[in-house]
C-alpha cells in the first residue's frame, strides 16, 4: 500500500494563492453530496479540500478543472468554507507555477483572452459589430447607461440575438444608452476562476480605466458573470460603478410602467436560474417577474429551482472545456423541461444559452424545445 506524508510546502502554496478557507473544513462531505457532478459521475469535493489541507493534492488530476463554481456546496457548507476560493487557488498554482497541466481547450481560450480580449480569438475591433445595423450610439460621458454584453453575445453568431434584443428593447423604449468603444475586453470573471489571475488583473484594469475615462456610472450587463465580477470583484481594484443585470433593469421598467407588452405569448416557459445570478448574487425574483408579466405566458418551474437550481455546467472556465455526453448537466435539465411539458427554456446567461443550445441540438429536441434568453422573449412581446 502506498503511504503518503503531509507535504506542508504544497499546502503553503495553495494557501498563498488564496486557499485560506480550506483550514475550516471538517470533512462532513456535504459539499460532495450536493455537488451536481455526483448526479452524473463521481467528484469528491471534500477530498480535494482534505488533500489541500495535507498538501497531497494531485495537481495533474483532471479534478483540478472539474468544478463549475456553481456554489451549491458553499451555500450549504456548515463551516461556511469558500470552497470555490480553494479550487481557484489550486488552479492558480497550476497555471502560474507550472505544476501540473492546464487542459488544452482552456489553454487556448486563456491565450485568446490574454491576447485579444475574447476567448474566441476574434478581432477586438469587431466587438461591436453585432449592433452595426441597429443605430446604437457609442457611449460618451453623460450617457445614462452603458450596455455591456461581453464576449459571447458580442461574437457568437447564435447568441448575438440576445444583445440585439436588448438594443431593440432599449431603442423602442427610448432608453439613453450606448456601447463602449472596442477597446473593451472580456470581463475576466471565468478566466479568473480558471486560475489565470494575471490575465484577469490586466482585463480588469483595462476595463476599469476605460469606464473611468468615459465617466461610466451605470452598466447594464447581459451576463451574470460580468454582473458578478463587476459588482463583487472590480470594486477592490478601483472599479466603482453601478451594475444592473438586464433582468433587473427590465423588471424595474415593468414596475415603473414603462415596459408594457402588446403581444400575447401562449407558451409554457420554464426558467433556469443561472448560478451567478442566483446562488452567487441572490437574484431570483426579477427574471420570473418579467416572464409572468408577458401576457399568455405560463411560467413553470424545474424540480430544483432557485437556490437549488442545477448548474448548466458552464462556470469556472468549464464553458471552454469539453464535457462528454452523459455528463452534461444541461442535458438533464432539457429532459426535465420536456417532462414538465415546457415549450421554451428561458435563460438569463449566455453560458447557459450555449450549453442548452448544444443540449437540445445533440438530443434532437431542437424542433420541440426552444432555448431563449429572457431579453429575446421580451423583445418579441413588447
Amino acid at each position: 500500500m502506498k503511504t503518503i506524508s503531509p507535504y506542508k510546502e504544497a499546502t503553503d502554496v495553495i494557501l498563498e494563492a488564496g486557499g485560506e478557507p480550506l483550514k475550516l473544513c471538517y470533512q462532513c462531505g456535504l459539499c460532495t453530496a450536493v455537488c451536481p457532478w455526483n448526479v452524473v459521475r463521481s467528484f469528491l469535493v471534500r477530498r480535494i479540500m482534505h488533500e489541500a489541507q495535507l498538501g497531497v493534492t494531485d495537481f495533474d488530476s483532471e479534478d483540478v478543472w472539474t468544478c463549475a463554481t456553481c456554489r451549491a456546496c458553499v451555500q450549504r457548507c456548515p463551516r461556511g468554507v469558500e470552497i470555490i476560493d480553494v479550487v481557484r487557488a489550486v488552479r492558480r498554482v497550476v497555471a502560474s507555477l507550472g505544476i501540473g497541466v492546464v487542459p488544452d481547450a482552456l489553454r487556448i481560450s486563456a491565450k485568446n483572452i490574454a491576447g485579444v480580449g475574447n476567448p474566441f480569438g476574434e478581432a477586438p475591433e469587431k466587438r461591436n459589430d453585432w449592433a452595426k445595423d441597429l443605430g446604437v450610439k457609442e457611449f460618451v460621458p453623460g450617457t445614462e447607461i452603458l450596455y455591456f454584453p461581453c464576449c459571447v453575445p458580442s461574437y457568437d453568431p447564435d447568441v448575438k440575438t440576445v444583445a440585439r434584443s436588448v438594443a431593440t428593447i432599449f431603442n423602442k423604449l427610448g432608453v439613453d444608452y450606448g456601447l463602449i468603444s472596442t477597446e473593451a475586453r472580456c470581463c475576466g470573471e471565468s478566466i479568473r476562476k480558471a486560475g489565470h489571475e494575471d490575465t484577469f488583473q490586466n482585463l480588469a484594469h483595462n476595463n476599469i480605466n476605460l469606464f473611468a475615462n468615459n465617466d461610466v456610472k451605470t452598466v447594464v450587463v447581459s451576463s451574470p458573470h460580468c454582473y458578478h465580477t463587476f459588482r463583487n470583484e472590480y470594486p477592490e481594484l478601483g472599479g466603482k460603478f453601478e451594475v444592473i443585470h438586464i433582468t433587473q433593469y427590465l423588471a424595474s421598467l415593468i414596475d415603473e410602467g414603462k415596459l408594457k407588452f402588446s403581444k400575447t405569448m401562449n407558451k409554457k416557459v420554464i426558467y433556469s436560474d443561472p448560478c451567478y445570478l442566483g446562488r452567487h448574487n441572490n437574484v431570483y425574483d426579477e427574471p420570473r417577474k418579467i416572464l409572468q408579466s408577458i401576457p399568455g405566458l405560463e411560467l413553470i418551474e424545474f424540480p430544483d429551482a432557485r437556490e437549488n437550481a442545477l448548474c448548466c455546467g458552464g462556470g469556472g472556465g468549464r464553458i471552454w472545456m469539453d464535457t462528454p455526453k452523459g455528463e452534461r448537466f444541461s442535458d438533464i435539465r432539457v429532459e426535465q423541461a420536456v417532462e414538465k411539458g415546457a415549450d421554451i427554456i428561458a435563460l438569463a446567461c449566455p453560458y447557459c444559452f450555449l450549453n442548452y443550445r448544444d443540449s437540445v441540438l445533440s438530443m434532437g429536441k431542437a424542433e420541440t424545445m426552444q432555448v431563449r434568453d429572457i431579453a429575446e422573449l421580451v423583445a418579441e412581446a413588447v
Binding site: C28, G29, L30, T32, A33, S42, R46, P78
Partner: protein, 1121 residues
C-alpha cells in the same frame, strides 16, 4: 493628612511577565517616583510570601498606599485588597497595574518597549493611588428565601436541594405543570432508565415540599433590588381550575368541545381545551387553555359567544348551544335569520379559505328547538324591589327587558301596536322571518316573566313613574318614513316602504299594479321589492342612486332578489313622479355618477345633467330611509339635530334621571343586532342606576383578542351554504326562502371552526365539575416575594428543522424530530410506545440524522452535546423493538461521558450501520419499484469516498438544542448577559460556571448551554449550593465604590435618574431645592451618572475626577512634548 507612603510591588509571574518585562528595572524605576517609600519585585506576588512582603511593609514601614503591578485585576485585585485589609490598611487605598495582559503578552517581541510601557502603567497607578481615599464597606443581611425560575429537571433539583436545607423556595413555572423537557423523554441514555420513573418522584416531592411554594402558569414580571435583597413581582396567570379542589376526575375534558394539538405529545395527538398538562402533572390538576377571545365574539355587538355555540354544535350539543346564545340575548331564531353577521367578516377561517357560516349555525340551533319543541321556561324569581318600564317591544326593548329580568327586576314592556316585536314583526316580511320564529323568541322572554302590554302607547313619562316604575327605557324605534321631496310624491299609488311592509305583515289585502318601482338600496327596499313580487307585481325594479358596492342591503338578499327576477337600476334617482288623470303613470329619473366620498365614507352620487329618463309604473314604493316619529313619543324629551333622541353616548341616559333610550330611536335605522346591543347597554345602566352605583366607572371592558391563530392543521373545506326554496315555489307565497341546515351539515360546518380562543367558554365543564373547581372568571394575580438569591433554570427549545427545506420536515409524514420520537417510543405516548409510521406500519428501515441545526454556521455553530447519545439511544430502541435496519448519519461521534463509549459499542454490536457524512437531502424521489413509498437519504459516505443513497421508511432528525426565543427578555429582566448563541453567559466558563455578572443570580441547566441530564443535575446542585452558601454567610458586603452627589452643585436636572439602569438616583426635594439622591444599595458604580452630569455633582467614589486625572497625567507626563 498623614504623609503618603506608597509601596510598589512588581510581579514576575514566573516568566509570564519577567520573560518580557524587566520587572527588576520597573521596580527600580518605581522607587524613584514621588511618594514611593518602597518598591520591590518578586517572582510570584500572589503567593503567600509575596503577600507577606506587602503586609510586612504596611506594618513595619508604615506604608499607607499600595500598588501591585502584576496580571489581570479581575483575578488578583481582590487578593491584594484582602492582603491590605489583613494588614490593617483600607482596601481602597490600593491600585492595580496590569503588566501581563497589557505588556508582556501583547508585546512579547519587543522587550524594551514592553518594559517602558510597564513603567508608564506603574507611574499612572502611583499617581492615582496618591489621591485615593479609604471607603467604608457596609454589610447587609441576606434574605434566606430563594427564587427558582423554571420547573424542569434543573429547577426541580435546585429547589429540592435548597428546600431540603430548610430554606424557603419560590418556584415559578410558566407552564401548567413542572417537569420541563425531561418529562417528555422516554428513556435516558446510556442506562436507558425511564425518564418518568426517575423524575416523577422528584416532581411530586417538589409539589408537596413544605419549603417549596410552587407557582405554575406564572412568570416573573419585574425584579428589583440587589444580592441578598431582591424584590420579585410574579404574574400568576389564571388556570381557571382551583388546584386544591380539582381531583383530576377528568369529567371537564370529557365534555369539553374544543380539541387542540397536545404540546406535551409534540402535536402527535390532540387534547381538549380543559386538559391535564401531562399524566404525572404537578400540581395534579386540570387546566383550561385560554388564548384570548375569539374575533367572532368580539365582533358581535351583542357579545354572543359564537365560538362557544359553534363548538357545542360540533359535538351535537344543540340544546346546550342555544342555551349559550341565550346567555347573551334572546333572539337566536330572529338573528339566526336577519343578522348582518359582523362575526363572519372577522372569522379567522376566512383568512384560510372561507368564514364559518356562523349565522346559519345559530339559526340551526333555534330551528332545532322549534322542531323538537322546547320545554316551558321556569319564570325567574323577582329579587329586586324596583320595577322597570320598557317602551317599545322591538329588539332593543326586549333585549333590555330580557337582561333586566335575569337580574331579578320586574319588567313591563309597553307596546302601542296590537302585537309585540316592533319592526321585527311589522318591518320584516315573513319569507325572511316567519312569525312562528319570532313568536318563539318573544314567548321565551315572556315565560321568563317579562310582562308585555300591547296596545298601550305611552304619552307621559311622569305617569309611568307614578305607576311605580323606578326606571324607564325608551326603545320605540324609527317608524317615520323619509320623504323624497320631489314633485308628485303625494300621488295616489306612491307608498312608503314601512307603511307598505306594515300592511303586508299585518295581513292587509294590498292591490298592486303590474309594474312597481322601489326607490332605495337598503334592506327595506329589497324587502318591499320582493314582497311586491309575491303580491303579484309582474315587473319590479329597484332604483338606487349609487352602485352595487355601496348598497347597504345584505348582499345575499340582493342576490336572491335578482334571482327572483327583480331588476336593479343602479346610479339613478327619481326627479319627478308623473300622473295621468290623477293616477300614477310614470316616474322620471336621472342618471348619477359617483363623486368624492361623503361623511359615511361612501362615494357621493352626483346627477349627470341631461340624462333624465322615464319609466312607466303602476306603483312606486319609497324606501329611502326611516325617521323618528316625534309625535308618537312622550313630550318631555330632547332631540339631536338628526331628529333622534339625545342620550349620553356611554350610559344611554336621557337628560331625565332614570330615563334611558336606545335602539333606532337613538341611532336612527340600524341593524337588529345593533339594537339588541343598545338594549343590553341600557340594561347595564339601569341596573347600576337602580343599585345606586356609578353608571360609568369600569364599564368598558375590552376583551383581549386572540393573537396568531394557528391554521397549520386546517384543511381546505368550502363553507356550507344554506338550502334555498326553489324559485318557482316562491311566487305568490310568503314561505321562508332560506332553509335550515340538516344536523349533519351543521356539525360538519361547526367543525370548520378554528377554535381561535382555544377554550370557547361554553361552560359545559362547569356543569359537570362536582368539586366546583372550575372558575372561568379567574384573573391574573400578582404576587410580590422577597428573596436573597435567584436561580434561573429556564431551559432550551428544540430547533425547528423545517427551516432546512432539504430535510423535508413537516413535508413528509415520517420525518420526525427527536422529541417526537421520544413520545412515540414512550409507553404512555400516542402510540403506546409502539414504533410505527404515520400509517401504523412498523418501519423496516430508519435513518437517524445527527447535527441537524448544530455544528452548522447556517443555523447554530455549537455542538448540542446530547444528539450523538440520544441518536444512539434511538438506534438501540429501534433495534430492540423492531426488525428495522438503522442508519446513523454522523459527522463525529461524541461519546465522552460516563459509560457513553460502552453504550456506543453496545449499539454497534446490535448491527446498527454508521455512515460518516452530513446528510444533503431527504426526498421522495425514488428510483424503481422497490423504493416506492420510501424516503431517500443522500450523503457522501466520507469514509468510502462515495455518494450514498439510503431508502428508509422513517427519518429521525437530531435537532439542535437552542436558546429559548425569549431568552433576551429574560436576560434583561434579570440583568444578566447572553452569549452570541443566545444562551445565558456565565461569569467564568471554568471557575464560575453557575454565576452571572449580577451577584446573587445563578444559572443552571440548558439555559446556559446544551447539556445532558447528569450535567444539568450537577449544575443545578452547584447553583443550589451557591445560594445556600450565601444564605449561610448571612450577610453580604455592598460595593463601596458607588456614586455620590455633591448636593451643593446639583441642579436636580434628573439626567442621572434617566440614564441609570439600576434606578439608583432619584430626584428629591431638600431645603426647597431639587437634588439627586443616590440609593447606594442599588448603585453598581458603573459611572453612567457621572458621565451625563452637566455640573460634575455626580461622581463615583474611588473613581473621582482627581483620581482619574492623576492616572491620566501619570500616563502621559513623560510623553508630553
Amino acid at each position: 493628612m498623614e504623609e503618603v507612603k506608597i509601596g510598589v510591588y512588581v510581579c514576575w509571574c514566573g516568566l509570564n511577565i519577567a520573560g518580557t518585562v524587566d520587572s527588576e528595572e520597573v521596580a527600580r524605576y518605581a522607587g524613584t517616583l514621588p511618594h514611593v517609600a518602597v518598591a520591590r519585585d518578586y517572582k510570584y506576588m500572589c503567593s503567600d510570601p509575596g503577600q507577606d512582603l506587602i503586609k510586612n511593609d504596611i506594618k513595619r514601614l508604615g506604608i499607607n498606599r499600595v500598588v501591585v503591578a502584576s496580571c489581570s485585576p479581575r483575578l488578583h485585585e481582590p487578593t491584594f485588597r484582602k492582603a491590605c485589609r489583613d494588614a490593617g490598611l483600607n482596601p481602597y487605598l490600593y491600585e492595580h497595574a496590569n503588566i501581563r495582559e497589557h505588556c508582556s503578552w501583547p508585546h512579547a517581541t519587543d522587550k524594551n518597549r514592553a518594559t517602558e510601557k510597564a513603567k508608564d502603567l506603574v507611574r499612572a497607578a502611583v499617581r492615582r493611588v496618591y489621591y485615593q481615599e479609604p471607603l467604608e464597606i457596609k454589610e447587609v443581611p441576606v434574605n434566606p428565601n430563594v427564587l427558582v425560575v423554571g420547573g424542569g429537571i434543573a429547577g426541580i433539583q435546585a429547589a429540592l436541594d435548597i428546600a431540603d436545607g430548610e430554606k424557603k423556595v419560590y418556584m415559578v413555572e410558566r407552564d401548567a405543570s413542572i417537569g420541563g423537557h425531561m418529562i417528555q423523554l422516554d428513556r435516558t441514555f446510556p442506562t436507558l432508565d425511564c425518564s418518568e420513573c426517575i423524575l416523577t418522584p422528584k416532581m411530586t416531592d417538589t409539589g408537596h415540599h413544605p419549603n417549596i411554594e410552587l407557582m405554575t402558569n406564572s412568570e416573573v414580571e419585574e425584579v428589583s433590588g440587589y444580592i441578598g435583597n431582591f424584590n420579585v413581582r410574579i404574574r400568576k396567570k389564571p388556570r381557571y381550575v382551583d388546584v386544591d379542589k380539582c381531583n383530576s376526575c377528568g369529567e371537564c375534558a370529557k365534555v369539553c368541545p374544543v380539541e387542540v394539538p397536545d404540546e406535551f405529545e409534540m402535536g402527535l395527538s390532540m387534547r381538549k381545551a380543559a386538559y391535564l398538562p401531562l399524566p404525572q402533572a404537578v400540581p395534579a390538576a386540570f387546566a383550561i387553555d385560554k388564548r384570548g377571545t375569539a374575533p367572532c365574539r368580539i365582533a358581535c355587538p351583542a357579545g354572543v359567544n359564537a365560538q362557544g355555540y359553534i363548538a357545542l354544535i360540533s359535538q351535537g350539543k344543540f340544546k346546550e348551544a342555544l342555551e349559550l346564545v341565550r346567555r347573551a340575548m334572546p333572539f337566536a331564531g330572529v338573528l339566526g335569520r336577519v343578522c348582518t353577521h359582523p362575526c363572519e367578516l372577522e372569522c379567522e377561517r376566512g383568512k384560510f379559505d372561507e368564514p364559518v357560516s356562523i349565522r346559519a349555525l345559530k339559526r340551526f340551533i333555534a330551528d332545532y328547538e322549534l322542531k323538537t319543541e322546547r320545554e316551558k321556561v321556569v319564570p325567574i324569581e323577582t329579587t329586586k324591589d324596583s320595577k322597570v318600564a320598557v317602551i317599545g317591544s322591538g329588539p332593543a326593548g326586549l333585549a333590555c327587558a330580557y337582561d333586566l329580568i335575569r337580574e331579578g327586576y320586574a319588567v313591563t314592556v309597553f307596546e302601542s301596536l296590537p302585537r309585540a316585536g316592533g319592526l321585527l314583526r311589522y318591518g320584516i316580511p315573513e319569507y325572511r322571518l316567519p312569525k312562528e320564529v319570532l313568536d318563539n323568541d318573544i314567548s321565551y322572554i315572556q315565560e321568563l316573566g317579562v310582562e308585555i302590554k300591547t296596545k298601550s302607547p305611552v304619552e307621559d313619562l311622569a305617569e309611568v313613574f307614578n305607576q311605580g316604575y323606578a326606571a324607564i327605557f325608551i326603545a320605540s324605534g324609527a317608524q317615520g318614513s323619509q320623504k323624497m321631496g320631489i314633485p308628485g310624491e303625494e300621488t295616489s299609488g306612491v307608498i312608503h316602504a314601512l307603511d307598505f311592509l306594515r300592511m303586508v305583515n299585518a295581513g292587509v289585502d294590498i292591490k298592486l299594479g303590474n309594474k312597481v318601482v322601489v326607490v332605495g338600496g337598503g334592506n327595506a327596499a329589497i324587502d318591499a321589492a320582493r314582497a311586491s313580487l309575491r303580491l303579484g307585481a309582474r315587473e319590479v325594479t329597484v332604483v338606487y342612486r349609487r352602485s352595487r358596492d355601496e348598497m347597504p342591503a345584505i348582499s345575499s338578499e340582493v342576490e336572491e332578489a335578482e334571482h327572483e327576477g327583480i331588476k336593479i337600476h343602479f346610479l339613478a334617482t327619481p326627479t319627478k313622479i308623473l300622473s295621468r288623470d290623477g293616477q300614477l303613470s310614470a316616474i322620471e329619473c336621472i342618471t348619477m355618477k359617483l363623486g368624492e366620498p361623503d361623511a359615511s365614507g361612501r362615494r357621493r352620487p352626483v346627477a349627470v345633467k341631461g340624462t333624465e329618463f322615464t319609466m312607466n309604473v303602476d306603483n312606486v314604493i319609497i324606501a329611502i330611509g326611516q325617521t323618528v316619529d316625534k309625535t308618537a313619543l312622550p313630550k318631555e324629551l330632547n332631540y339631536t339635530s338628526w331628529g333622534t333622541l339625545e342620550v349620553d353616548p356611554v350610559t344611554l341616559q336621557t337628560h331625565i334621571a332614570g330615563v334611558f333610550a336606545g335602539g333606532d330611536v337613538v341611532s336612527g335605522p340600524a341593524d337588529v343586532v345593533v339594537a339588541v346591543a343598545a338594549g343590553k347597554e341600557a340594561a347595564i345602566s339601569i341596573d347600576r342606576y337602580l343599585r345606586g352605583v356609578s353608571l360609568t366607572e369600569e364599564r368598558q371592558v375590552t376583551p383581549k383578542r386572540v393573537e396568531n391563530v394557528s391554521k397549520e392543521r386546517a384543511q381546505l373545506k368550502a363553507r356550507a351554504s344554506t338550502p334555498l326554496l326553489k324559485l318557482d315555489e316562491r311566487k305568490g307565497s310568503f314561505a321562508e326562502v332560506e332553509l335550515s341546515f340538516d344536523e349533519k351539515t351543521a356539525i360538519e360546518e361547526a367543525k370548520r371552526c378554528l377554535n381561535c380562543g382555544v377554550c370557547s367558554e361554553c361552560l359545559e365543564c362547569v356543569k359537570v365539575c362536582e368539586q366546583g373547581a372550575i372558575n372561568h372568571e379567574m384573573q391574573d394575580e400578582f404576587v410580590e416575594v422577597e428573596v436573597g438569591s435567584m436561580i434561573l433554570a429556564t431551559g432550551y427549545q428544540q430547533f425547528d428543522p423545517s427551516v432546512i427545506p432539504q430535510y423535508g420536515y413537516k413535508k413528509f409524514d415520517n420525518v420526525l424530530t427527536g422529541l417526537e420520537f421520544e413520545r412515540i417510543t414512550c409507553a404512555g405516548g400516542p402510540t403506546q410506545g409502539r414504533i410505527q409510521l404515520k400509517d401504523g406500519r412498523e418501519p423496516e428501515s430508519v435513518a437517524i440524522v445527527h447535527c441537524v441545526g448544530s455544528r452548522d454556521q447556517n443555523y447554530h455553530e455549537y455542538c448540542s452535546r446530547v444528539c450523538c447519545m440520544y441518536g444512539l439511544k434511538y438506534a438501540e430502541l429501534i433495534k430492540e423493538f423492531t426488525k428495522a435496519e438503522v442508519y446513523e448519519f454522523y459527522i463525529d461521534m461524541r461519546c465522552f461521558g460516563e459509560a457513553f463509549e460502552e453504550f456506543y459499542k453496545r449499539v454497534s454490536e446490535m448491527g446498527v450501520n454508521f455512515i460518516r457524512g452530513k446528510v444533503a437531502n431527504i426526498t421522495d424521489r425514488v428510483m424503481g419499484e422497490e423504493e416506492r413509498g420510501k424516503l431517500i437519504v443522500t450523503a457522501e459516505d466520507t469514509l468510502l469516498g462515495k455518494m450514498i443513497r439510503v431508502p428508509v421508511d422513517m427519518v429521525i432528525l437530531c435537532a439542535a438544542l437552542e436558546a429559548r426565543s425569549d431568552a433576551a427578555d429574560v436576560a434583561s429582566l434579570f440583568t444578566i448577559g447572553q452569549r452570541g448563541d443566545g444562551f445565558f453567559l456565565e461569569t467564568h466558563p471554568k471557575l464560575a460556571p453557575v454565576n452571572t455578572p449580577t451577584d446573587g443570580v445563578f444559572i443552571a441547566g440548558c439555559c446556559e448551554a446544551p447539556r445532558d441530564v447528569p450535567d444539568t443535575v450537577a449544575q443545578a446542585s452547584a447553583a443550589a449550593s451557591k445560594a445556600l452558601s450565601l444564605i449561610s454567610r448571612g450577610k453580604v458586603t455592598t460595593e463601596a465604590a458607588v456614586s455620590y452627589v455633591d448636593e451643593s452643585i446639583c441642579h436636580g436636572c434628573g439626567r442621572c435618574e434617566e440614564i441609570c439602569t439600576f434606578h439608583a438616583p432619584s430626584i428629591i426635594r431638600t431645603d426647597g431645592r431639587l437634588v439627586s439622591s443616590i440609593n447606594e444599595a442599588l448603585c453598581k458604580g458603573c459611572g453612567a451618572c457621572a458621565v451625563v452630569c452637566p455640573t460634575g455633582a455626580a461622581q463615583i467614589k474611588h473613581f473621582n475626577m482627581q483620581e482619574i486625572e492623576g492616572l491620566v497625567d501619570g500616563l502621559l507626563e513623560v510623553h508630553r512634548g
